[in-house]
């Protein structure tokens, strides 16, 4: 049965006499915006564009406030009229066109940048919706009270407010702080931060703010040591007090944030704080603990590790040995290995799709289903970066979107519903490409983070943390610094 609907193409004047019609079949993968009952094929004018189709879907959904939608036809976003799309693809208007509608994403427009003295490796956010706030049930992060942390090659951990002021900074080398570059920084809770880096030590910091006196402090709590080389990345899970670390010594470290639970570290790996290089080495006065386990199976340096999003007893890790490994943490065993063709630097899990994305020197991002028992390794590849992928993060607003930070100086946003199929299988192209506002071309992006409230944060060789956010933060973050 065909329903006839007469729609005007937005505010344009439509010449109905010359326009033909086509059948469309609407669908979506998001349950909360799916149509109550399948309307079947709809006959619409071929001169319709996205806006008119979005109006149509809102009409069918009987929405009170219109939701802007975008439309995918066979994995490609509709950017023209239906007619122009069908003509360019050589599709007969006799056929029924499948139209998948998705919530239109707000373009991540540039907001602001935070300047550092050296290359920035890593960035994380504390907001109401960030994991570290949700874990402790702390919703007291008010309007404009989000916090950003960054780690740089000078080894400095900084806490920023949203106006770009530094609220606290870890001790410098001159003050007896560690020499080592910080490769990864993470909020564990609103009052606890973890950092790691070149010296192979994970440091836990207590972070406190005194609103009355407008002061903030960052004080060392515990040093976790036991891996023998640089720690490129850490993952934290506050409810289970667990930390995972990816080390250049080929191991994945499993640690506890709870000092009473952890063993003493091996004596030869206890960190000592080298002051200035001509100063005497001073022993650290911070309590030190060793690993709960060092997971061995990778045959080259491990570059990134994460907890499985729906099960904190499972971990994933990627390595220079080209593989993605799945770990069962209670038994410390590697339960699955997937090999790719290149060195891997980054991984992120897309929980609702049971896919793990991995990126590295290959230039493309590979999506792998680690539960898939078939021999097919790659479920999809995302192509567009012209150099290494150093970092990956998922969109907190969409199960289908992720962002990547690359050595080509860009961050790319991907929607895996947007794909085509070629001889190598499913291939996706990016839907957004974020440049460096510093103007430094090809400044490598080492770290990315995507927060529901703040937006996309990227840490780069250009010495800036750059924030590209959705529309709702626009009024709150002043541009420039």
């Amino acid at each position: 049965m065909t329903t006839q609907m007469r729609l005007r193409g937005g505010s344009r004047d439509v010449d109905y006499a010359s326009s033909s019609q086509v059948r469309i079949q609407l669908s979506t993968r998001d349950n909360d915006i799916s149509l109550p009952k399948n309307p079947g094929p709809l006959l619409v004018n071929t001169n319709l564009r996205r806006y008119a189709l979005s109006t149509l879907v809102n009409h069918l959904l009987k929405t009170e406030k219109p939701i802007p939608f975008e439309f995918l036809i066979n994995g490609t976003f509709l950017r023209t009229t239906l007619d122009e799309y069908l003509t360019s693809r050589g599709i007969s208007s006799e056929a029924t066109v499948p139209l998948e509608y998705v919530r239109a994403a707000i373009p991540p427009v540039y907001k602001t940048s935070f300047m550092h003295d050296n290359w920035v490796c890593s960035v994380d956010v504390l907001s109401v919706t960030s994991p570290a706030a949700k874990w402790v049930g702390n919703a007291r992060i008010g309007f404009n009270q989000e916090r950003v942390i960054s780690g740089d090659y000078d080894g400095l951990l900084r806490v920023w407010d949203m106006t770009g002021d530094v609220l606290a900074v870890s001790r410098t080398v001159r003050e007896g702080g560690p020499v080592s570059a910080l490769k990864s920084v993470k909020f564990i809770s609103p009052t606890q931060i973890a950092s790691c880096g070149m010296d192979g030590v994970i440091r836990l910091w207590e972070y406190t703010e005194d609103a009355e006196n407008l002061t903030a402090s960052l004080s060392p709590q515990i040093e976790l040591c036991g891996q023998r080389r640089v720690i490129e990345s850490i993952a934290v899970h506050q409810p289970s007090s667990r930390i995972l670390s990816a080390s250049g010594d080929h191991t994945v470290g499993v640690w506890s944030t709870n000092a009473s639970e952890a063993p003493n570290p091996p004596e030869e790996l206890r960190p000592s704080h080298r002051g200035n290089k001509r100063q005497k080495v001073q022993p650290s006065t911070t309590p030190q603990r060793g690993p709960l386990a060092l997971l061995e199976s990778h045959t080259a340096q491990v570059a990134d590790t994460i907890f499985a999003p729906n099960d904190h007893t499972v971990a994933y890790s990627v390595s220079w040995d080209h593989s993605l490994k799945t770990w069962d943490l209670p038994t410390s065993t590697c339960v699955d290995t997937r090999s790719t063709t290149a060195v891997l630097f980054a991984t992120v899990s897309m929980p609702n799709l049971s896919l793990v994305a991995v990126g590295g020197t290959a230039g493309h991002i590979t999506l792998i289903d680690p539960r898939d028992s078939t021999t097919t390794v790659s479920a999809m590849t995302l192509r567009g970066h012209k150099n290494f992928t150093f970092s990956l993060a998922t969109d907190p607003d969409s199960a289908y979107r992720l962002v990547s930070g690359s050595a080509d100086g860009t961050c790319r946003v991907w929607d895996i519903r947007s794909s085509t199929t070629d001889k190598n299988g499913k291939v996706g192209a990016s839907v957004e490409c974020l440049q460096r506002e510093s103007g430094k071309r090809e400044a490598k992006v080492f770290g990315v983070c995507w927060d529901k409230d703040v937006g996309i944060l990227s840490a780069s060789e250009d010495k800036f943390v750059q924030i590209n956010g959705g529309a709702k933060v626009e009024a709150r973050i002043p541009r420039g610094h």
Binding site: W119, A181, M198, G200, G248, K386, F388, A407
Partner: protein
């Protein structure tokens, strides 16, 4: 009429011979003036370089971030840097002018364990040579290995010794116990072999004919290769005798490298030639390749099991080749040009001065007269 070209066996296309480096992934900045030499650490994580500014620098290979540097001698170029093989320690040998240094770079990830091991390896020979210097039989005094002074020692430069002429080549034995140096102007002292654990310098090639250019240990046998301007001689180290005289036919050899299998070698020359020798086949080249417009400065095989080799030229480019050594004695090596890597600028007639391969990956690095190092992936 048969086109003679059609009778030749068809070479596989480069596409079928992936992976090999195709693009510049990372640029390393910092050196002022020419970068003369570079080497990827055995771990594959660090890149060491030395240049006209007299500094040795270590950078993170994939990001290009400099993590350590030292000024050896002001106004004297660092001509060569080479890592000691093995991953249990981080030991770097470097030469500037007539001086050779052994360094434990103070990289932040150098935890106490590695730092201690590196220091132990470099310092093992103290006291040894003072007693056992008899091997230098001539009147001249034995080469003294000494501390380089507190400034350098504070930076991890732990040992220094001086030879008689400018050192251009350092070449380690695979086990990291011996290394050879070449001082082309050194006449009878041109080639020296050093024993690390004894801080001992020996000069075994007193009667070398011609100016020495380069030297290398055989990858598995007690054989040593020495290149002069026109010939490469191989010597049996245990019997102390000449084995072979390899004749590439080049007018002036700049560099050579021995295939990890030990039976093939490549030679680069200032007269723009790249020559492949199958040592079992002949003392003459099996193949002569002329692709560059200017002198070839460096040639190197991939050492980690990939059938790749490359050369670096003053025309500013590197050329990547597939070079597969076939097990079958009746079959010859297959050599296919794969890719020309361009990016370095030519400065005062000088282009790419050195190259190295990653120990496992199909990546190479290059040192340019333009002051940059580059990682190609």
């Amino acid at each position: 009429n048969i086109d003679p070209e059609s009778l030749l066996p068809k070479l596989p296309s480069p596409e079928e011979l992936r992976p090999f480096p195709t693009m510049c992934a990372t640029k390393f900045l910092g050196h002022e003036g020419r970068v003369r030499s570079l080497a990827v650490a055995p771990s594959g994580h660090w890149l060491a370089s030395g240049g006209d500014d007299g500094t040795v620098r270590v950078g993170e290979l994939t990001t290009g971030h400099q993590v350590w540097s030292v000024q050896l001698e002001k106004g004297e170029a660092v001509n060569v840097v080479r890592w000691r093989p093995g991953t249990e320690a981080k030991v770097l040998a470097a030469a500037t002018g007539e001086d050779v240094y052994l360094i434990s770079p103070q990289i932040a990830d150098l935890n106490k364990e590695v730092a201690t091991k590196s220091r132990e390896i470099i310092d093992a020979g103290w006291g040894y040579a003072a007693n056992g210097a008899k091997s230098n039989t001539k009147k001249e005094p034995a080469t003294q290995w000494v501390r380089p002074g507190s400034r350098l020692e504070g930076d991890g430069v732990l040992v220094k010794f001086s030879l008689r002429k400018t050192v251009k080549i350092i070449s380690w034995h695979r086990r990291g116990e011996y290394f050879a140096t070449v001082s082309p102007q050194g006449q009878t002292n041109a080639v020296a072999i050093h024993t690390l654990s004894k801080h001992l310098t020996q000069l075994p090639f007193r009667k070398l004919k011609g100016l020495a250019q380069s030297a290398q240990f055989h990858p598995s046998k007690p054989i040593f290769f020495v290149a002069t301007q026109r010939m490469i001689r191989s010597y049996d180290l245990s019997k102390q005798e000449l084995l072979k005289i390899i004749q590439p036919g080049a007018r002036w050899i700049s560099s050579f490298d021995v295939h990890p299998g030990g039976d093939n070698l490549i030679v680069g020359s200032y007269d723009k030639r790249l020559l492949w020798h199958d040592l079992e086949l002949s003392v003459r080249p099996y193949k002569t390749l002329r692709y560059h417009k200017k002198a070839i400065r460096a040639v190197k095989f991939h050492q980690g099991g990939l059938p790749l080799f490359a050369d670096a030229s003053d025309d500013g480019s590197l050329q990547i080749f597939h070079g597969k050594v076939v097990e079958d004695m009746m079959e010859n090596a297959s050599i296919v040009p794969l890719k020309v890597l361009r990016g370095h600028q030519v400065k005062k007639e000088l282009g790419v001065l050195d190259l190295d391969w990653h120990p496992r990956e199909p990546w190479c690095v290059s040192a340019g007269a333009d002051g940059t190092c580059r990682l190609w992936t």
